[in-house]
């Protein structure tokens, strides 16, 4: 165990922070070295500072860690950030300047042209922009981001199609779980026996982040893809799992069988590298008429797989299907840890 890479978690008391803590406490390559949170929590034992939300008990090694304040000196070079976006921007830059490798779930730097917005299966090549990032920003560390939870699910389902056929138009309507809003997030009174067709800022993220991720890296720069995404985002009374109804115009003629085959054949670098958090199959095609379903499929591949199904023709755009993934795992902490695993293998954590 002694050769595991120590890692710190920023925003460790929040819900995504707790997922980071859980994942690191049981990780073969990283170890949980420090927990960082706001001044309100700093100085307390993690077990006292944190209202633990996960059903598995808090990991023993986390209980007695003393919570460090934001911007505290950290011996761990690898830092996972679950900070809220109003705080994340400056704090993460601060750590990157001081030599830390920051893996951030916050939105602050996602659309920065020098910051990779990374889903290893989709755009592992984008990590190469880190060289430019360090050079232009003069940082000894770096920042890598993972996408918004609903974008993570969407882009995972779109990538096999883009590879096989190209993409021209994407319409997506989401049914998103309450955990996507963090804790306490939505009041129970706002969601019991209700659906809310609005999530602040979410549609703009879904209409921009996938284009960056499905774009290319060349000449030292990231170039966004140039198709259009239109998104309707809704909150429903589920705990975890974002379900997305997608209609797509492909860039080439393809039968439903062709599309099914593209989903089935899909695999990518993290699977080849056998990264610890990578699911065996990144995209799982379900053929039952009523799958994927939120509860039944959100934990597929330990929450890291994206399930697709209900593949059929769309009279307006071409094809339509349903995609589903875990917003807390693939869409947040798990995605970020997978990013770190990829960069370790690429030698970028040395």
């Amino acid at each position: 165990m002694s050769d595991r890479i120590p890692a710190a978690v920023l925003g460790a008391t929040g819900m995504v922070g707790q997922y980071f803590v859980s994942l690191l406490a049981n990780h073969p390559w990283f170890s949980l070295d420090a927990v960082v949170a706001s001044d309100r929590s700093a100085g307390k034992r993690y077990a006292d500072a944190c209202r633990w939300l996960l059903s598995a008990d808090m990991p023993e090694q986390a209980r007695n860690l003393e919570v460090s304040p934001l911007r505290a000196e950290l011996s761990a070079r690898v830092v996972f950030s679950a900070l809220p976006s109003d705080v994340a921007g400056a704090v993460e830059v601060d750590y990157a300047k001081r030599g830390h490798m920051v893996f951030s779930n916050a939105s602050s730097h996602r659309m920065d042209p020098l910051v990779p917005l990374l889903v290893p299966e989709v755009n592992h090549a984008h990590a190469a922009v880190l060289h430019e990032q360090r050079r232009q920003k003069g940082w000894s560390g770096f920042i890598v981001t993972n996408p918004n939870c609903s974008s993570a699910v969407l882009v995972s389902a779109l990538h096999p199609l883009q590879q096989a056929f190209g993409l021209e138009r994407v319409m997506v309507t989401t049914l998103q779980a309450v955990s996507g809003a963090g804790y306490p997030g939505l009041s129970s009174l706002d969601i019991l026996d209700n659906a809310v067709p609005y999530i602040g800022g979410e549609e703009a993220k879904m209409e921009s982040e996938p284009l960056k991720m499905l774009g290319s890296f060349s000449d030292g720069a990231l170039h966004p893809a140039n198709f259009k995404v239109s998104a309707h985002c809704n909150r429903v009374a589920t705990r975890d799992g974002h379900l997305e109804c997608v209609s797509v115009t492909l860039g080439a003629d393809a039968s439903l069988d062709d599309v099914a085959q593209a989903f089935r054949a899909y695999t990518s670098l993290p699977q080849e590298l056998n990264l610890p958090t990578a699911p065996p199959r990144p995209v799982i095609l379900r053929t039952e008429p009523d799958r994927p379903q939120t509860r039944l499929d959100r934990d597929a591949g330990n929450g890291m797989a994206t399930s697709v199904g209900r593949l059929r023709e769309c009279s307006l755009l071409g094809i339509k299907f349903v995609a589903l993934g875990s917003n807390t795992m693939r869409g947040a902490a798990g995605g970020s840890v997978l990013n770190a695993e990829l960069l370790k293998v690429q030698g970028l954590l040395d």
Copy 2:
């Protein structure tokens, strides 16, 4: 009271049947005269045959009615049908032949070119096809249908836009309440902490019924509209109220303000006639960023109004918005009763 028109309810013990019973028990123009159900219930008191599902107690005048078997002789000429579609087809024809005016919530005859699929605000003129229906089918009575619950909401929201601008393309994704599946309908295990992206037959209905309703009547025949609808239908954990995310290509240039104005200015014949079940405003435009919401808006206009909101541009189709209405009222029993009110005023119940 003695001059109210007696009416019977077919399928009176099911959930939609119970809504019919409730509405008729308190109706100014109709009175509840008979309840009809399957052989299992026939001969019992309604209070004993029926597992009552509504929160208001069963109306006193219904409790002691004896349940008649399907195809029983009925003295009431007006008949409301909440029969399941596998039974409704033949039974409703039987009653129409025997001179009854059948107002049906079942899908069996909806797409019959001689049967009006009626939402009074939208296509009251289609009632004129009844003349042809009687002539060609040789019935002394007739059958009038109301649309599937999710189609009712959609068509109510689309009609103002069709009138003002024309319609070219409609994409809709629904978040539908469990009551739409009747009782017992969905198992609690299928929907608690879950969303199900599949409702058998629903997408086909949503892709066809609105075209019939938004079509025209001329030369004694109904002619469907010729734009395209593509639908994704989902079930979520709400009791009542279908929420629909809609993207539309209009037939003419229109700013968001123009569209808002079309919604605001919209009124129709049932409002002019002040029909008892007609809501004062058939379409209510909400301007809050997060409305309509299922729980807050499903009872607007006593469940007979359609609320729209979140009007904004769609990068793919033109405009997008959210529509919401009660599947049990506007989308089922209430819609059917409103149809009967319209026909009464038009002299077709004499």
Copy 3:
């Protein structure tokens, strides 16, 4: 309308405050004259200061009221308080000193021996302590409280039994709705697919408040009843309605029929006086095997009736039954308004 008694609402932007606003906006005896809230809201239009939570739209007459700060001068002598208890104590005293008649839903003064803890059906005679309250405290106004929501339901169900047989022991386990915690109250993550067997302070309230209410008034003082109550309080995923499982040892022999008869025969002063908010029957005995149920019965008597049912023998304590009532109506705003109606008839608002 001009002769309605003007009334103010303290804590008007919270959930209970909104219920007060709704009730007063449509009340035959009172009118909504002022809305009072914390400094954060003061000075704004009520429509802007308030995130409206009820499904009926905000009453028109409330929308443009300017929110007054706490302790503002109020021309209305009658004041309804929905303040949180950490603020209510001092502010309500302040208003009582300045001559206001304060009807409070807060817990601060409930157990003060000089403050009536009033449920008009149960202990209308306790209002007489107001004479002592004013004398001893030197207030020109007064404070009247209504009980905690779960106590209100319990005491309503116990009173018919106390009257008929006396009470010796009461065991109660509650299943309480999330609205009892106010807004935002419980996080959706804390209650979706969950039950929480803990509500801070609730059990102590249920074990003390009913004794005060079911006690007597004599010699100018309130004397608590001297039986024992033991309470288990739980939160479940319902929006409104507290369901309570009650086992009781009566003070006299009584068959189940005797007990049923006591419930059926029960009526009280508010019914006799026909107070506007009083339900026709304060206690409704259900005889179906599975009633009362939260959703079906919480709105009985406009949310002001308590439904009881499942009356049967308890092998340990004697009899057991289920009681259910609306925490937002009978257990909060509605109960407080009924208190004011009672005092008006008693001439105490003159």
Copy 4:
């Protein structure tokens, strides 16, 4: 693998049957050999006959098993029964006569004085009655039952107290998950935003089964304990996990610390024997003010541990606390499999 004991599952297509199938497919001592179900399913592939309800996919080895009809010849001597109780009675006797060892989750034979109602931690000694069962009934096989799900949780929590102090009176109010009713079980319309204070037959089971289990075995017969249990049973909107509010009069003086110590010190034979399905700690005492909670604690010990907490004084009975366990694991399939493990170690499966 070849030396695992083959086992069959009766009622394999229902929800509890699916849990049996899952457990056996991954069991170190037993293997899944046959699936048995009603005539409707017989002859089909299990994958086709079964609407799979668990989130983990159906085990591969189960998919292609052909479903056998009830009473089919089975080569497996060990049989787990998830039959509905109206069918279980006769079918299980039939198999016992034919030499099968039947481990039944059905209620049919639970209260038969010759049938052990077994929770291995609580009353492993009761297995000794099987000798009498075989002798008196003349069966070459036998029947062992596990208790009703809510009784399993209760008796697990009571046993440490009975051992340490004795028991005199037990009052219990349950908040039970919908999965306890099987599939489809409760309609979503019956439980969304609702609580139902009635579960047919459940209170009678809770008031009798624990007495049998906490009784003694002597002179070849089972003798029930002679304290009293009074139960209120409620259904709430949770998927899995029965939460129980318990008040108890102990048989000896004990402080809350004494009681806490009794819970903490508790262990039993299955833990000593390290049975595969036995949880490391059968009873887990939580000291947080708001635990156990359904969602957070139902999976403790892989669903086989009972969590207790909120230990405090009861002004009526002595002490009170909350107990919680998984109705599907400890309360159904898992409990039954643990029974088989115990009997294997005791040599009763040879």
